[in-house]
Amino acid sequence: MEQILQFVLSGLSQGGIYALVAIGYYMMWAATKAANFTHGDIFMLGAVSTVILAGLGIPLPLAMPLAILLSAAAGALIERVAVRPFNQGPSSVGWMLTTIAIGLMMESAFTATYGPLGKPLYSPLAQSPIRISGTGIYPQELLIPVVAIAIMLALEIFYQRTIVGRAMLAVAANRIAAGLMGINVNRISMIAYAMAAGIGALAGILLAPVAEASPAMGALIGLKAFVIAIVAGMSSARGVVFVALAYGVLEKMIEGFISTGARNAIGFGVMILLLLIFPNGIFGKREVVKV
């Protein structure tokens, strides 16, 4: 029983990371029906640049927001340079390739300069684990899903209570109608990418104290988060966070009861199966085919 509690807690922690990255995919997708395919590398950028800034002697409370701002700028830039020009028409896939290219470049540039190995980030919450029946869990890990849910709630307020948030929903629903309201659709898209990147970077910063910051840390997490967002149906932050947390717990269960090695194979297998059952995602709406 306590073992299961342990899996659930560490699963929620892992799922919280997926949630924060997947929320970014949802935001980008909602605004543009495209995304930074290698959003996982923005997650990495957040963690790695915090470590670098801290290494330069900048105190952490300053380094973290700086890293988030830097990542947000990178997100906005990617929207402008790699997504917007390559996202003309509903079936264009150019943006996929350009953002993959940028991801590859980022990852390898950091590998070459920062080094391939992970470096830890200090956090007061990752010093002594809380004991739960033999195994331990850091307070930092428990913080992650709390932050994920808090961000989700904040986003819901942002969408419902602020004019930029409403505009973002409007852009997601109908770009033409949004333009007719006087909304600069391109600027809103850019803001969505910047916010997605900021949230992704935050996830990286949260994970770095317990898992170290390395250039390769984002690739797999990014892909998983994208799959999660798609399986959730790209329809709401709430749905995305729910699927992400569930997926995190599922992974820990597989690790605990089957084997660490089987984690990805079974996990992705389940996701592919879910997409088979729900072709538009679990919480997705069926799009009416217009003839």
Binding site: T98, I100, S108, I230, A262, A265
Partner: protein
């Protein structure tokens, strides 16, 4: 240059180049690199079919390549299976895996499919590492013996030619499919799913077929790789490798014949140069991909050939011939004149979208050799009714009999094959295919030649293709577009596009033809010609349903007219009777009395009437 000239030129020059290379006495290392390059090119050629023809992107090609490699390796090592059966097993295994993977994914397109293939690739790698008893784990499978065929040991020297032969065979398969009805069907589904299924093409099956072919070729390449490298390990079959396969295709030029070969060549040799960059190697890979996307979105071959076309193109004047020319009506469509028999019987068709009832208990009876007009104000449900009849929508309730058989639950592509053809309100041509090809897609279901006959290009393939081109040309003559046969459909003037769409629909040899606003955007002259064409068709016994806003056209052509308003039939009968029906006038104009001058009163009559 015609495709078949290109094909033979590439093949002959390719083999001449390979021969020359061998005559220069290359090192074993150089032979090995070129052999590997040719093996990678097989994957690229297959992927080019998937992307360039079917418009689907796979980012898991390395895993299919890996399945071929591991299956061949395992069979050889653990079961002593000889070279040829091992390779064939690799191909089959990858093909089957491709089918299993394609089944859920062909229904979703674009990014969904890409993500599923990525996920599959990651699962595959995970399995390779973890399933140690079978895959050898991180060490992989080592000590694979060189292959032997009919007692000949496949040394590095000989294997070079095995790879070359396999590449040539793969190239031939993809070429043959591309320039046959199979390739046309793939391009059609990529450009307009709706139009493709309206022409009898099963979209999901076509996509799955493309996926299986590209997976099988990846499997072939994987199996060949096993017997070149003599050991396999998970590091070869990464996501990164999938990206480089994609890059080969894009770099060379999507959809071009030569492109994937050039792309594979560059991406095999360039990393050799990049090796000096060490940890920056991946960076330059990414930079190269970005540069290609920004500077040459058509790839090297695509950009150069477009430039060549642009430089050599002479301004051409083409003339549309007078149309229709009934004499050109293909024999397959002549006769069968049984005017008056009921072709389609619709009973109480209803469809709701959410809370909106778009069509409400509409009934119609459509007879052979007649024109049945369908009119009504904007949003009255005409298009929905047409979509119900052609199987694009399934009714909430109600039934339809087509040629005596019920249509419930039958897909649009199957109805099309039974002889129900349609056009679309916003013409849905295959814009990047030629005018002739558009009509040939319409003839897709009339072909009898098998896949094997097509790939091997046996005599029946050629005679049949010639006959079909003949029929298509006749249909173009019917609508006066023979001059435009080799022009891309999207370059046609609007009026000609409408004509082409009708010619394409006629290629189904239909018993019932649904025309959705065929006159919209046509000039008065063109409308007169269109009327003549419709009369030519009904004279052959074809039943025509005409949805049109040009009411005068409907009135003068139709034998019977049905008027819809708010999804309901408000009038039905002979044109003259319907035209003066007060309900019809009201539906079109509203309740305000148009012929009475607006009163001097400040309040207009329409408002006064309601007060």
């Amino acid at each position: 240059m015609k495709p078949h000239h290109q094909f033979w030129l590439i093949l002959i020059l390719g083999f001449a180049g390979l021969y020359l290379f061998r005559e220069l006495g290359p090192t074993n290392y150089a032979i090995g690199v070129l052999t590997r390059c040719m093996i990678l090119a097989i994957v690229a050629v297959g992927l080019n079919l998937l992307i360039g023809q079917a418009g689907l992107v796979s980012l898991g090609q390395a895993a299919l390549y890996g399945i071929g490699a591991y299956v061949a390796a395992w069979l050889t090592l653990r079961a002593d299976v000889p070279f040829l059966p091992a390779v064939v097993s690799g191909v089959v295994a990858a093909g089957l895996m491709g089918a299993a993977l394609a089944y859920p994914s062909v229904r979703v397109r674009g990014v969904y499919l890409a993500v599923i293939t990525i996920a599959f690739g990651l699962v595959f790698q995970n399995v390779l590492v973890e399933w140690v008893p079978v895959t050898g784990g991180t060490l992989g499978l080592t000590g694979i013996p060189r292959g032997e065929v009919f007692g000949v040991r496949l040394t590095r020297q000989i294997y070079f030619w095995v790879a070359a032969g396999s590449l040539a065979a793969s190239f031939n398969i993809v070429y043959a499919l591309t320039y046959s009805r199979y390739g046309r069907a793939m391009r059609a589904t990529a450009q307009s799913e709706n139009a493709a299924s309206a022409l009898g093409i099963d979209v999901a099956r076509t996509r799955m077929f493309a996926f299986v072919v590209s997976a099988s070729l990846a499997g072939l390449a994987g199996a060949l790789y096993t017997f070149l490298n003599l050991f396999v390990n998970y590091e070869t079959f990464t996501f990164f490798q999938s990206v480089s396969f994609l890059l080969m295709v894009i770099f060379g030029g999507i959809g071009t014949l030569l492109g994937p070969l050039v792309g594979a060549g560059i991406l095999t040799y360039v990393p050799e140069l990049f090796q000096d960059f060490r940890e920056w190697q991946v960076f330059f890979y990414g930079a190269m991909l970005a540069a290609v996307m920004f500077l040459m979105p058509r790839g090297i071959v695509g950009t150069i050939s477009k430039l060549a076309v642009w430089l050599t193109a002479r301004p051409q004047t083409r003339d549309a011939k007078p149309w229709p020319s009934p004499a050109a009506l293909p024999v397959t469509m002549v006769g069968g004149h049984v005017e008056g028999t009921v072709v389609a019987e619709i009973k109480r068709f209803t469809i709701r979208f959410g809370g909106l009832t778009a069509v409400n208990e509409a009934s119609m009876s459509i007879k052979a050799g007649t024109v049945h007009g369908l009119i009504g104000p904007n949003g009255a449900g005409k298009s929905s009714l047409l979509n119900l009849m052609s199987g694009f929508y399934q009714p909430t309730s109600g039934t339809m009999q087509f040629l005596g058989a019920p249509t419930a639950g039958i897909a649009s592509s199957h109805l099309a094959r039974r002889g129900l053809a349609r056009t679309f309100q916003n013409t849905e041509l295959f814009g990047d295919m030629t005018v002739l090809e558009n009509v040939l897609v319409g003839l897709h279901c009339q072909y009898k030649a098998t896949l094997a006959e097509t790939i091997l290009r046996l005599p029946r393939f050629f005679t049949e293709e010639r006959a079909m081109v003949g029929e298509a040309t006749q249909l173009l003559e019917l609508v006066g577009l023979t001059d435009y046969a080799d022009e891309l459909a999207r370059n046609l003037p609007f009026g000609h596009q409408r004509r082409l769409e009708i010619a394409r629909a006629l290629a189904l040899r239909p018993k019932l033809l649904l025309l959705d606003e065929p006159a919209a955007g046509l000039t008065h002259g063109e409308i007169e010609q269109l009327k003549e064409l419709v009369q030519t068709l009904t004279a052959q016994g074809i039943a025509v349903v005409l949805v049109e806003h040009h009411v005068d056209m409907v009135m003068s052509l139709s034998h019977e007219v049905t008027v819809l308003d708010y999804g309901q039939v408000i009038a039905s009968g002979e044109p003259a009777a319907v035209q003066y029906d007060p309900k019809v006038i009201e539906a079109y104009f509203g309740t305000g009395d148009l012929l009475v001058p607006a009163s001097e009163n400040e309040r207009p009559p329409v408002v006064a009437g309601s007060a």
